[in-house]
Each structure stands twice: as structure tokens, then as C-alpha cells.
């Protein structure tokens, strides 16, 4: 049986109310319409839709499970891409970039040129802020382009990726504050030499963590750039 435009639109609304993501919408909508069109008699469209949803997808719970499953797969896929991107820095030619950066940093630090720690911290903050701006602008563009669509399933994993970055950033700041606090509080108890060791260890940990976080952020940005291009092309 051929469905009218109005009937298809009604099914579209019903499916849209049932699913969370655009990708699921497309697949379930096509499935339901194809299945309905193969039926000979459609006295009650809504009931027929309900039956398909129940029998084929396991109802509301089945759809939720389907989306949860897909979300898990996409999340795993995104993290894998980010991990691969991160490994790029530890293989040629990425390793050369990393060695060059570390050598410049080491040279500046050794020769007390500029205030390399401030430059490093500044660059890290700048990277975080600029990535936040890039993300916000690209999200705005995608939302504007797809304003009549449900969100993409990839959004969930991208959000988690950014949440990890922000959490890492917050923990880093908290660790820095804690170190400064301990440094001030214990200055009268311990000898100056011990204090110097303490501050050096803390600074090394902070620098290393910031560096790893910066690489993670850059890897995330590259993954997001590819995802953004793909979604813009759809």
C-alpha cells in the first residue's frame, strides 16, 4: 500500500518523538515506512506503527537500547581515533615535531631565555580557550545548518571527549593551588632546600600533565575537525 504524504509526515512525527538521534531517526523511519508500504490493509495507521515498533524493535525500550548500543560503539570509535591521533606524536613524523618542541623548550629553560614557564602556561591556556571558541563556533554552524534535525549520535562522544579535557584542566589548576598552599604553609617547618625540591617536583608534574593534556586536546581537535567536515557535507 502506498502511503500519502500526510501519513508519511505523521509517521515522521511519531518516529521523531521516539528517537533521540538523527541517525536512528533515518534508519527507523525508512524501516517503518517500508514495512507499512508492504502491508495490504492499513485501517489504523497509528496502531500499525505501534505494532511494527513493538514487534521489530522491541518497543520504546528496544529503541532506547538500540541507541545506547550505537552510542557506545560511536564513543569507542571516537576514542580510538583520538588515541591513534595521540600516538601520531610518538611516531615519525609526529615524533620529530615533538622532539623539536621539547628541544626548543629545553634550550629556553636551560638558558633562562624569556620566562619559558609562563610562555608554556600561556600557550596551554591559549590552546584551551581557542579550542573552546573553535568548538562553539563549529557547533553553532552545525546547529544552524541542521536546525530541523535531531542531534547526531556523534555529539555524545564529542561531548565526553571535551568533558575529559575540562576535568583534566580543572584538576591541574586544583593541584597547582594545592601545591602553592602546601608550599606557603610548610615554609617555616622545612629547610629551604627541601622546599626547592618540593617545588621542582610539583612544577615537573604540572608541566608534564599540562603537556599530555595539550596533546590530548590537539588530538581531539583534529578528530573533531574531520567529524565537522563530514557532518557539514551531509
Amino acid at each position: 500500500m502506498i502511503l500519502t504524504k500526510e501519513q508519511k509526515a505523521n509517521i515522521g512525527v511519531l518516529v521523531s518523538n521516539e528517537v533521540e538521534y538523527h541517525e536512528t531517526y533515518q534508519e527507523v523511519y525508512d524501516h517503518v515506512i517500508t514495512s507499512l508500504e508492504e502491508k495490504q490493509d492499513l485501517a489504523d495507521l497509528q496502531r500499525a506503527y505501534g505494532n511494527i515498533l513493538e514487534d521489530d524493535f522491541g518497543g520504546h525500550y528496544g529503541i532506547k537500547m538500540l541507541e545506547e548500543n550505537r552510542r557506545r560503539i560511536v564513543r569507542k570509535e571516537t576514542f580510538q581515533k583520538q588515541k591513534d591521533q595521540l600516538y601520531w606524536f610518538f611516531k615519525l613524523p609526529g615524533l620529530l615535531v615533538l622532539i623539536t618542541f621539547c628541544s626548543i623548550y629545553g634550550y629556553f629553560y636551560e638558558h633562562q631565555l624569556l620566562n619559558i614557564n609562563s610562555v608554556f602556561s600561556g600557550s596551554f591556556i591559549l590552546l584551551t580557550i581557542s579550542s573552546f571558541i573553535i568548538m562553539s563556533i563549529s557547533n553553532f554552524i552545525l546547529r544552524k545548518k541542521n536546525r530541523n534535525r535531531k542531534p547526531s549520535i556523534n555529539n555524545a562522544s564529542i561531548k565526553i571527549m571535551w568533558r575529559i579535557t575540562w576535568k583534566g584542566y580543572i584538576y591541574l589548576v586544583l593541584f597547582r593551588v594545592l601545591c602553592s598552599f602546601l608550599y606557603i604553609q610548610t615554609s617555616s617547618i622545612f629547610k629551604a632546600d627541601y622546599h626547592r625540591v618540593f617545588i621542582n617536583i610539583a612544577a615537573t608534574i604540572i608541566d608534564f600533565a599540562s603537556f599530555v593534556l595539550a596533546l590530548y586536546l590537539i588530538a581531539g581537535l583534529i578528530v573533531y575537525k574531520n567529524e565537522f567536515k563530514k557532518r557539514l557535507a551531509i
Binding site: 534508519e27 524501516h31 514495512s35 560511536v74
Partner: protein, 112 residues
């Protein structure tokens, strides 16, 4: 018609084999093909089919493309090169499993 839980372990092999035979298929088409081949004895639920398709896609064994059919988007699945190469080994695996089951359960192959 059954939605056999025993199917779960062989679902990926079934999908790969169907796609090898039919080059490209969409979700609903796969369920109908299985129903047709088994004369309605086995019914694949979409709740099981789509996660399996998505998993195969994530593993790089399948790739997808979309086509506009009657003003709606239809997502087709087809084998990647890696997927094509993997079908034979999956079938061998399934065959070996069936042989072992026959030994274990003392089943005799039935002829219809």
C-alpha cells in the same frame, strides 16, 4: 516463526554472507531476506540486527552509503575489502561450530 536466541552468535556471519551474495542491502531488506530463505522460520529482530550492523561497520567489515528513495534517506550496507576477505573464515568458523554441536548433542542432519 522464531526469534531464535541461538542465532545471536552467528548473526554477524549471516549478515556478512547475505551481503556477499547481494552486494548491498538495507536493514529491512536483510530481515526480509532471512525470512524468505528460512521460509519464515527465523525472524531477525531489528533490535538485534542494527547493533550487529553497527558493530560490523565500526570494525571496518562493512561500509555504508545513503540513497534517497521516495524522498527519504535509505542507508545501505556493503562489505568492505576487509569484510569480503573475512566472510570465508567466518563461514568456516560457523561450519566448525555446527560440526562440534552435532557431535556434542548427537544431532542428525535433517533433510526437508
Amino acid at each position: 516463526m522464531s526469534t531464535n536466541p541461538l542465532l545471536k552468535g552467528t548473526l554477524q556471519t549471516i549478515i556478512l554472507k547475505l551481503l556477499e551474495d547481494n552486494s548491498q542491502m538495507y536493514g529491512y531488506e536483510i530481515t526480509q531476506k532471512v525470512k524468505e530463505i528460512t521460509a519464515g522460520e527465523i525472524k531477525l529482530t531489528e533490535g538485534a540486527l542494527y547493533p550487529a550492523l553497527h558493530k560490523l561497520e565500526a570494525e571496518g567489515l562493512l561500509e555504508t552509503f545513503t540513497e534517497i528513495v521516495d524522498n527519504r534517506v535509505r542507508k545501505y550496507y556493503r562489505l568492505t575489502e576487509e569484510g569480503g576477505n573475512g566472510v570465508a573464515s567466518k563461514l568456516d568458523e560457523a561450519q566448525a561450530f555446527i560440526d562440534q554441536l552435532q557431535l556434542l548433542l548427537n544431532l542428525k542432519p535433517t533433510t526437508k
